[in-house]
């Protein structure tokens, strides 16, 4: 890894998508409350900075881009973007649309949390150009919501869906399994209740105790215990079975969708394609360089307001490391996996020359399947994906 200056985008429209982004991520850090498992760049109690933040965001875009960049996907994540009021949302969307005009058939997702939506906000989103909503439901069990330190109750989810569903064709729910104290039956119930709401897309994540979070500390102190690995295994297996039976097919380790409703934006990450990123803690990958903005809100505001960029660590991988990383990311795509032809085109490396022995090893253990053209995780490989992937690096 070499350290280079943060890139100012001077790429040419003809550059391939792993060099010139066709996707942009915008971060809104505000939240009503900090959840127990959350290690995102998010903060509660800072809403008074929202207008200043939106100004800074606009300034950051102005600083980094020399003109509008048409994109195929936009993703506004958080934090909780819908923590902004309707006016702020409209203003945000207008700014973004100016810099990133959406190409035909483009996808524009906004993340929302139960309890933060109202008809005005939904209207602002829909009329501002957004065409996909990702709602953080996480769980329908009061006990799990408590364990995860979420501050909404199960009914808030259906209320939010009632607002979203009439206006958006494409909407998704996020769920978390393996909350401390949760059981397999409770998780089955979560899946049922989620399916009953009729989403075209579901993200189901096994809970991770991220370093520094409240849950992590409580586990260290012995106050909470992760669910048994056997139970977690069963929960994940159940997820795959139930959702596919309901027509939501798995296309990534934690993502399921009705065919055609996959998140195009997230597929950009798993193809190791380029993307822009703006806002607090936002990551970007432009012209082969990864960089991340500071996660410190006052620092972000100060730097942008004084005309500096807000970039923190920068990383540029050598071609081989980039190719290996690409292989790992592509393997996350459970349905398509790594296409040899595509891999060579994007990385310049022959997949088998690069990691033939480890692919064969995992194939022989039944974790990968290889039809000669594509390599992808098998059902049993899904559960041990990190073992398979680390071998590729």
């Amino acid at each position: 890894m070499t350290v280079v200056l943060a890139p100012i985008d001077r790429s040419c429209p003809a550059d391939p998508p792993w060099i010139r982004p066709r996707a942009a991520y915008i971060h809104i850090p505000f939240c009503a409350h900090k959840c127990g498992y959350c290690d995102f760049a998010s903060l509660a109690g800072a809403d008074h900075l929202a207008n200043r933040y939106l100004d800074a965001l606009a300034a950051e875009l102005e600083l980094a881009l020399d003109g509008p960049r048409p994109v195929a996907s936009l993703f506004i994540g958080g934090g909780t973007p819908t923590r902004l009021n309707a006016d702020q949302l409209s203003r945000l969307l207008a700014t973004i649309a100016r810099w990133f005009p959406l190409l035909d058939d483009g996808e524009w997702t906004v993340e929302a949390n139960p309890g933060t939506l109202d008809p005005d906000k939904v209207d602002a989103l829909a009329s501002g150009g957004v065409n996909r909503i990702s709602l953080g439901a996480q769980s329908f069990q009061p006990s799990s919501l408590r364990a995860l330190e979420r501050n909404h109750d199960p009914d808030d989810v259906s209320r939010a869906v009632a607002l979203i569903a009439p206006r958006f064709d494409r909407w998704s729910l996020d769920l978390i399994f393996g909350a401390p104290g949760s059981t397999l039956d409770q998780w089955r119930d979560d899946l049922d209740r989620a399916l009953a709401l009729g989403p075209s897309h579901l993200s189901c994540y096994g809970l991770v105790f991220e370093k520094g979070t409240s849950l992590w500390k409580r586990r260290l102190d012995g106050l909470v215990r992760p669910v048994d690995e056997e139970v977690e295994h069963a929960m994940y297996a159940e997820t795959i079975d139930r959702l596919s039976a309901a027509g939501l097919l798995q296309y990534e380790i934690s993502n399921f969708a009705r065919p055609g409703h996959e998140s195009r934006h997230n597929l950009v990450y798993w193809a190791n394609d380029a993307y822009y990123g703006f806002g607090l803690g936002a990551a970007r990958y432009v012209a082969g360089v990864r960089s991340v903005n500071t996660r410190d809100l006052p620092a972000y505001l100060r730097r942008i307001e004084s005309g500096q960029d807000a970039t923190g660590p920068v990383e540029r991988l050598d071609p081989e490391a980039r190719a290996r990383e690409t292989a790992v990311l592509m393997l996350r795509r459970t349905a398509i996996g790594i296409d040899r032809e595509d891999f060579r085109l994007r990385t310049g490396f022959d997949l088998d020359a690069l990691c033939g022995p480890s692919l064969r090893r995992s194939c022989s253990r039944g974790w990968l399947e290889d039809d000669g053209r594509r390599v992808r995780l098998t059902r049993s490989g899904l559960f041990l994906a990190d073992t398979v992937m680390s071998d590729l690096l």
């Binding site: 809970l207 991770v208 380790i253 993307y275 991340v292 996350r332």
Partner: protein, 601 residues
Amino acid sequence: MAHDPKFIRNFSIVAHIDHGKSTLADQLLLQSGAISQREFREQLLDDMDLERERGITIKARAVSIHYTLDGQTFELNLIDTPGHVDFHYEVSRSLAACEGAILLVDATQGVQAQTVANAYLAIAGDLALVPALNKIDMQAARPEEIKEEIFNTLGLDPDEILAVSGKTGAGVPELFRALIDRIPPPSGDVQAPLRALIFDSKYDDYQGVVVYVRVVDGTIRVGQKIRLMAMEREYEVIGLGQFRPREVPVQELGVGQVGFVVANIKQLSDVRVGDTITDAHTPAASALPGYQEPRQVVYCGLFPATHNQFEDLRTALQKLALNDSSFTFEPETSDALGFGFRCGFLGMLHMEIVQQRLERESDLSLVQTAPNVTYEIITRKGETLHVSNPTRIPDAGEIEEFREPYARVNFLVPSDNIGAIMALCEERRGDYIKTDYITPTRVIVTYELPLAEMIYDLYDKLKSATRGFGTMDYELLGYRPNNLVRLDVLVAGDRVDALSIVVHRDFAERRGRKLVKKLKEEIDRHQFEVAIQAAIGSKVIARETISALRKNVTAKCYGGDITRKRKLLEKQKEGKKRMKQVGNVEISQEAFLSVLEAGEA
């Protein structure tokens, strides 16, 4: 310069570790004008990285100092020696090239186990001892008490004991005078045919083997045809020199002189330390008394972590052997670990140093098996076997008598710690011999211990039992029969030969239980359940099960996560590098060594 032996003195400095030998050596160089104040930096003579880190002089070196006393210039040859017990052998061979030795004792620490041991080596070699207290510049120095200790332990006259500071140079002129007065000059025959003792050698990439010699009789000259008497090989001297401390070429070395010889010798194995160099045309009638070959007391298997690096490891070992003739290696095959080498070392520290140097200098990842000693086995058929690899121990039914090496160990400890030392030795099957008081507060406790019980952590245990004040030294005694058994480890049903150990029958159950427990912690979970068993013959005496790894998958990986997740995966991969695949199970280096920790009482 004239080589009149009358004006030559050859000596070593012997001391317990850290008593200031290297610092004093530098001070001698400084006061003789051989180095400048600027060059007087600590431990000038220790130039290997590892030595600097550990503060231990590993390889003996020789320096010639020219010192003028009362208008007469003397050549003083200082032969540096290592202080650690593992390197006794190197101490004694350095001493063989001297007529005297400075016995250096830290005036704050007093007599320590290796002070005593090294002093006895010097006395046994008929050397004139010049005792000196060091570090007298320090507040905590207790010169009178320490002189008393030296008298009580070694019988040296307190009035003859000098007081110096290697750091400030105080007392060093007096020390020079004492060296010249008290150490006899070399007594060789100038007219006789050449006899020079090889006391060390090293390999140099440019010059080939460089041989360190001490001329006893006659003269060695550039251009001379020489013969190595034991090896029966002949060479032409192409270069001679001395270290002052920089290499200075000379045309000849006469009686009593110390220096190095370059003679186009290709391999270190062509030279035997302790051999005699003579003139090829007019050879001496007999060689000088040589040395005992160094004895390897600790063995372990070294295997490349990656299968195809066997040849690389061989090359690396050969290269290291060029500069260290005191470790041995021979190819060995393990079912579990594949092709590697069984290596013999002078002691644990020596083993550690060799392993670190191998990894550092060759960029190889190594898997090391638990160290062990050599066992002597009398079979039912009446054969005597010496086995330094537990795997090769025959089945119990074939063994008539199972013997293990013992050592006599002297612990020099504060008298308050007698109880702790005894407990330490009892739980290691030690036989108590005696306790000697050297002062009312310090004692030498002597035990006879199975060597196998000493090699792992006895030294560390001693240090912690005595809050750092205890020291130890040992000498080997030979083999004694005991009720020993081979304890095998089965992982997933297969015996892992590299995990076998030898234990006393009475301790077998306890060790077996600890061992499988430890292995359970050290072996990563696999995708299937892994049973770990300890067995004597076909009898399983302990068992643990490692549950299967059911789920190992990162749930989330979006734009902001990619770098971090990749690094986590890289770390997983890195951890696997030092793993050995045994059947379907991957076993880490730590697991192979955990055998040792399970041996802790």
